[in-house]
């Protein structure tokens, strides 16, 4: 155990009655890390966050903060602060009083509280709104007060429970950049919960993908996007085409994988792939190339639909074995191929962009 571990969960299980919300979660988050828990609603990510905050106690397992077991420590004794999804600002207190709340409870002196509150207001750029009540602020401003309030006591760990979900698209983009800046400037470990994969990919140092109470994969955004561990991750992060395939023989370092549509692929040999296994090939829509029908190395297909999206066009095609594919084409290069429904085209695969996953 290095000293750079901020929080670790060891075999954490959480049951609500007969429902298992978290199933044997083990996870280590480093100091100064921007870690995102990503998953669809009901996957257990908020439950994990509440266990770390101390609002819930795990049914089994341990939670350690900087090497110390805090499993049964009440929330008001943990150096962990939360930014709530609904902000949960105290309505009877001003912005400044809200931000100073934690420090006041820790028994800090008035001059120190005033000092920190002023610094926090500056950090979130709300200096002129110090004496306003929460209901006099816009959603984005409330959001920033909630952030300042959670950062003011200088916690070791900041938990953010879908803090951007109540903001509109444009404000959300701005806050994403702001959050990243705050994390860099304060050096606090952030654990960010979201169901928005784009948010997770753009902000995080590492992502933990969850579903059904299980941690599906932990890795950098690049690892998770390019090398999803299973079909769920490949499908949830970005878009993927899934094509049926079968494992063939191994020759030397490589194992042959034959896609049902006729494409021959090969992957580094591994014990997990046995001849005769049926597997799935996951292919990102942007890694496919659309060519003229009958072009070299291409699989024949028929265009079924083409949807214009501004920067690019999503072309839906059907392969000759009736499997469907989506191909994302940048609009600058679209005009070379006829995209009218029914026209014959060719699809070219990039062997480096094919992920072979267990079915």
């Amino acid at each position: 155990m290095g000293t750079d571990i901020s929080i670790s969960a060891r075999n954490v299980i959480k049951d609500f009655g007969s429902f298992r919300a978290l199933d044997d979660i083990s996870l280590e988050i480093h100091k100064n890390e921007f870690f995102t828990l990503l998953g669809p609603s009901g996957c257990g990510k908020t439950t994990l966050l509440r266990l770390i905050a101390g609002f819930e106690v795990p049914t089994r397992g341990h939670i350690e903060l900087s090497g110390q077991d805090i499993t049964n420590v009440p929330p008001f004794r943990r150096p962990v602060n939360t930014v709530f999804q609904s902000y949960a600002l105290f309505p009877h207190l001003t912005c400044a009083q809200n931000i100073g709340f934690g420090l006041a409870r820790l028994g800090r002196g008035k001059s120190e509280i005033d000092e920190v509150v002023r610094r926090m207001l500056k950090l979130v750029k709300l200096e002129e709104l110090a004496s306003r009540k929460p209901h006099q602020l816009s959603g984005g401003q409330q959001q920033r007060v909630a952030l300042a309030r959670a950062l003011a006591p200088a916690p070791e760990l900041l938990l953010l429970d879908e803090p951007l979900s109540a903001l509109d698209q444009k404000l959300r983009k701005g806050m994403q950049i702001e959050l990243k800046r705050l994390q860099r400037e304060t050096g606090v470990t952030f654990i960010f919960v979201t169901h928005d994969q784009e948010e997770a990919l753009t902000m995080s140092d590492r992502i933990g993908v969850m579903s059904d109470g299980l941690l599906q994969q932990v890795g950098t955004p690049r690892e998770i996007y390019n090398h999803p561990a299973n079909r769920f991750v490949a499908d949830f992060i970005g878009e993927s085409n899934f094509l049926a395939a079968g494992v063939g023989d191994t020759a030397g370092e490589y194992t042959a994988v034959a896609l049902d549509c006729g494409y021959r692929h090969r992957v580094p040999a591994s014990r997990q792939l046995q001849p005769g296994d049926s597997v799935v090939a996951a292919i990102r829509p942007e890694s496919l190339v659309l060519t003229d029908s009958g072009a070299e190395d291409s699989i024949a297909a028929t265009v079924t639909d083409a949807i214009y999206f501004g920067t690019d066009t999503h072309c839906h095609v059907e392969l000759d074995n009736r499997e469907a594919l989506v191909i994302r084409l940048q609009n600058a290069r679209v005009d070379r191929v006829d995209l009218n429904p029914g026209s014959r085209v060719g699809v070219r695969f990039d062997p480096d962009a094919i992920q072979v996953l267990g079915d």
């Binding site: 101390g54 009440p74 008001f76 602060n81 609904s86 949960a88 600002l89 105290f90 009877h92 409870r105």
Partner: protein
């Protein structure tokens, strides 16, 4: 220009109609107010300023401040005035007993309201309904029940003696304590319901936020929950304090002669003592006391609420 003329007439007609609608809608309420509040109040003030003949009936038209003088002074046989604090003392006792009752109701009512507000929603309606159960029994019957409980040979004294806590029965009945307990029991729902209404609207995530920001349970209660319940607490205190000041049945039954409250004194003047002007003057004094309390609330307590 006939067109303008026409629209002018239309305007005036519409104005008259609007006035008629307004008179029709406000009228009944205004009539109620005048007939049932202002008129009796005026009558009371008028009677309080009348002379009273030896048999106790009001001599209409003979104005006198005698009733108000009597409130503070006692008229000796030689017509000289001597300070008499008896009535003021009854007012003071009513005031303190009402404050005590309000305090006790708050002490019992706040945890009750908090308990109800933290139950699952499907239980809350039932629990609120249950707090009104005592009202199903007549006030008189409930107060007699307290007599049975509090008297020297009642179950409380008997139980304590049986357990060896006390040797002699505690004199609980016919004391200020008995009156306050009886009043608290009677008015408790008026404290519970407004506080519950305020607590129910509270976002309990605020409590989590408070715990998260290093507040202990007690600090959370003071810093987050009481401020959230504040409007309900104020409403509850007014709803208990004001009717308490004028209560009649409970002090009459549980207080005996020693713990007389304003309500009983007024009742006495209109009944056995047959001194209507004095009774009316006392009623007016009570009204003033309540009004002053409310003014105190508006100017001293309310600003805190908006702090």
């Amino acid at each position: 220009m006939p067109d303008t003329d026409n629209s002018d007439r239309l305007e005036r007609k519409r104005g008259r109609e609007a006035w008629r609608v307004r008179a029709f809608t406000i009228g009944p309420a205004a009539a109620m107010l005048i007939l049932l509040t202002l008129l009796p109040l005026g009558l009371m003030v008028y009677i309080s300023l009348q002379e009273r003949d030896w048999s106790g009936s009001v001599i209409w038209g003979n104005y006198s401040f005698e009733a108000y003088i009597r409130f503070i002074f006692e008229r000796k046989l030689d017509d000289s005035l001597q300070l008499n604090a008896d009535y003021v003392r009854i007012f003071a006792r009513s005031f303190w007993l009402s404050l005590l009752t309000t305090g006790l109701s708050l002490l019992v009512g706040f945890p009750t309201a908090l308990f109800i507000a933290t139950r699952p929603p499907r239980w809350r309606a039932t629990l609120v309904f249950l707090t009104t159960v005592p009202f199903w029994t007549n006030l008189l019957v409930r107060n007699y029940a307290w007599i049975l409980l509090l008297r020297d040979t009642g179950p409380i004294n008997a139980g304590l003696q049986e357990l060896g806590v006390i040797d002699e029965p505690l004199a609980m009945l016919y004391t200020n304590f008995a009156v306050s307990v009886g009043l608290t029991y009677s008015f408790l729902p008026f404290m519970v319901l407004p506080i519950y209404a305020a607590m129910e609207k509270m976002d309990f995530r605020l409590v989590e936020a408070s715990f998260d920001l290093y507040a202990t349970r007690l600090q959370t209660l003071w810093q987050v929950m009481i401020p959230a319940a504040w409007p309900g607490i104020i409403a509850g205190c007014i709803l208990v304090f004001v009717p308490c000041l004028g209560s009649y049945v409970t002090p009459a039954l549980l207080g005996g002669g020693k713990s007389m409250m304003v309500g009983n004194l007024i009742g006495l003047q209109f009944g056995a003592a047959r001194n209507w002007p004095f009774g009316a003057a006392l009623g007016f004094a009570l009204l003033t006391l309540i009004l002053l309390s409310m003014l105190f609330y508006v100017f001293k307590v309310r600003p805190e609420e908006n702090r």
